[in-house]
């Protein structure tokens, strides 16, 4: 951190918050709120005079509340810049008449109670998102008694208690009586790998952290007895198995089973841990002086704000979703944005450094080239047809379309550097004013018409997205899975491209069944485009019902590239549905939709026209 702070080409903006991000790769404008510190960070020499006179003491967040700090303080010993900051919520000196003792004590006049928050705009080409994570609060697991029993602490609190720069200067003691604990229990997976309480995924770092803690205890206090209660130890990294072995050799006992209850002896404050030892197959009770809960890792509480600022999506776990889990693991779906550390998923220091290095390299490549290669598949707006409704700008998952202004006759503009080519805008445009290059309406309609030119009642029209469902069908084929052959596949980049008119045209031409298929929500390659697909299909079901067409004839499936088996099963189900659609039903549908189309065409003739072709070439 010191190195970064001193680097001539790195500007650290501490005590700051990103409030707005505008633009696109190569041209981001980031608005940063620089919060008032009330201390001149350039002049302050951290002499400590102000701290000595400050009368306010509040719990020290860095020390997990085990010690106190003053209202004027340095957040942690290695913080950069190494200067004081005033916690104005706790300070009495907002009105210098009330206190102002730090002001008097500071010989260099560094303190300024009139300091204000400032907003600065930064022009940057790329952004690396390294916003970290939060830890799980185990209070809700009442049987472990966290906050009820003084000697039940979390792994984060353990770190402070045993650290030389901690509140006890590394003299490990238990909170209830400040005596050194001789029997310590560690409970793993607290708030992790649980569907009911906490999160379902593995915290990734807790096993190795506990192993390290047992070694620390064995090193500092060889007479301490450590017991680790676990489901299974995940020591998967380089050198980790060796560390695990050393921990066991150093005397740590590993007991397979998560405790069901902790009970405190009110007098001694000792803790009795009741556990089913699944290796021995018996119920056990262990009396301990202290219990450490290895708490899980959760996404940051303000992660939704970051996602909104940078137009990012999340995985089912709530962490930021990468562009591709194998091929672009540090890239965000929005071009020019990269991830490092636990914002993307829980990881240890080594993996965080690895990912940060990769992110810096990926950002460096873009910046050194000075130009970006964009997709050929982008959208284009025809000003003659646009009615300024702004629907395209609203649905774009990348904010790649500027909102139009009807009064100023300002057409929406497609920022091609930001457009990823999902085609949701084209599918949602009510006047067909948007052309999706390489996946135009004419091209897709021509495929539908060709498939249904002969024996349409035998064909099932399937729209499959490029990234998941289409490869899923490929996998079914290469796996030699057997399924009916009535499906006729039309590939689109995203299921979001499948416009209402494609589906209705297929029914009008005699298709008995239509399937729209895309990525699972958590896998969507276009942030949230798949959600617009679902909304559109739900509307279509309603519309079909109103028109007198059975909604069951329009099917929706989320099929990943790895689900060849699901693809085959869906085809078999669709074939069963197809057999139930009679020729009479198809004929009636054709008649209804032909009438509907004639009505729409008549209505469209009276529509106003505006502007010229708008597309900003980047």
């Amino acid at each position: 951190m010191m190195d970064a702070g001193r680097h001539p080409r790195i500007e650290l903006l501490s005590n700051s918050e990103v409030t707005k991000v505008k633009g696109y790769v190569g041209n981001f404008t980031v608005t940063v709120k620089r919060k008032a510190r009330y201390v001149d960070e350039k002049e302050c020499t951290a002499c400590n005079e102000c701290v000595e006179v400050c009368p306010v003491a509040v719990p020290d967040e860095y020390q997990q509340g085990f010690s106190s700090r003053k209202a004027i303080y340095i957040p942690f010993p290695q913080s950069v810049p190494s200067s004081f900051i005033i916690d104005m919520e706790s300070c009495l000196g907002n009105n210098p008449i009330a206190c102002g003792k730090c002001l008097e004590a500071c010989d260099k006049n560094c303190i300024d109670f009139d300091d204000q928050d400032r907003f600065v705009d930064l022009e940057v080409g790329t952004i690396i998102c390294a916003t970290g994570m939060d830890v799980y609060d185990p209070t809700e697991i009442v049987e472990y008694g966290y906050r009820r029993y003084e000697n039940v602490i979390t792994s984060m609190e353990f770190e402070r208690l045993i650290c030389a720069s901690g509140p006890t200067e590394g003299h490990f003691m238990r909170p209830s009586d400040q005596k050194r604990p001789l029997r310590i229990g560690f409970i793993q997976c607290v708030g992790s790998r649980s569907e009911k309480r906490g999160v379902a995924y593995c915290g990734n770092i807790c096993c190795m952290n506990t192993i390290k803690d047992t070694l620390l205890l064995a090193d500092h206090y060889p007479d301490t007895e450590s017991k680790v209660f676990y489901m299974d130890i995940r020591a998967f990294g380089k050198g980790f198995e060796d560390l695990y072995r050393r921990s066991k050799e150093a005397g740590a006992q590993y007991i397979r089973g998560l405790p069901g209850e902790i009970v405190e002896d009110p007098k001694s404050k000792n803790l009795v841990v009741r556990v089913e030892n699944t290796t021995a197959g018996r119920l056990e009770e262990h009396e301990l002086d202290m219990v450490v809960l290895a708490v899980g890792v959760i996404p940051r509480h303000d992660a939704p704000v970051m996602r909104q600022l940078l137009t990012l999506s999340k995985t089912a776990d709530g962490f930021l979703m990468e562009s591709h889990p194998k091929l672009k693991p540090v890239d965000a779906p929005s071009r020019g944005v990269f991830f490092a550390g636990c914002a993307e998923y829980p990881k240890d220091v080594k993996d965080s450094v690895t990912q940060a290095s990769a992110a810096a390299a990926r950002a460096g490549i873009l910046l050194s080239q000075g130009k970006v290669c964009i997709e050929a598949i982008t959208s284009r707006i025809d000003g003659d047809l646009c009615i300024y409704c702004g629907r395209c700008a609203k649905v774009c998952p990348y904010n790649a379309i500027t909102a139009p202004d009807r009064k100023k006759k300002q057409l929406p503009i497609v920022i091609e550097a930001a457009c990823a080519g999902c085609g949701t805008c084209a599918a949602e445009c009510p006047t067909d004013a948007i052309t999706m290059k390489h996946f135009t309406d004419e091209q897709i309609l021509a495929q539908i018409e060709a498939y249904l030119a002969e024996d349409p009642e035998d064909q099932i029209i399937i729209f499959a997205c490029n990234w998941c469902s289409y490869p899923g069908s490929d996998l079914a084929g290469t796996s030699r899975l057997q399924y009916p052959t009535h499906g006729r596949v039309i590939r689109t980049m995203c299921s979001g491209r499948v416009a209402e008119k494609f589906v209705l045209r297929a029914f009008e031409l005699g298709a008995p069944i239509v399937l729209v298929s895309g990525c699972h929500f958590s896998d969507c390659h276009y942030i949230s485009a798949v959600q617009w697909t679902q909304r559109r299909i739900e509307k279509l079901w309603e519309k079909m019902e109103k028109l007198g067409i059975r909604p069951e004839r329009l099917q929706l499936e989320w099929i990943s590239a790895a689900q060849g088996q699901k693809w085959a099963e869906v085809q078999r189900s669709l074939e069963e549905l197809r057999k139930k659609v009679t020729k009479e039903e198809i004929g009636e549908t054709r008649r209804i939709l032909a009438q509907e189309r004639a009505r729409k065409e008549k209505k469209a003739k009276g529509r106003p026209k505006a502007g010229a072709v708008a597309s900003e070439q980047e």
Partner: protein
């Protein structure tokens, strides 16, 4: 407590209840019977 709504599977015709919040965006749903994603919310008739 999250709200619930009635859903119908457009593949197998099964009727079932699932968590549903009007304010939340679309969610991936699957029929508990046939696992199809062609799941439609049954709106209350006014």
């Amino acid at each position: 407590m999250p709200g619930e709504a009635d859903f119908v599977c457009l593949r197998c015709g099964a009727h079932f209840k699932m968590p549903y919040e009007e304010s939340e965006g679309p969610k991936e749903r699957a029929c508990p019977e046939c696992k199809s994603n062609s799941v439609r919310r049954v709106k209350e008739k006014k």
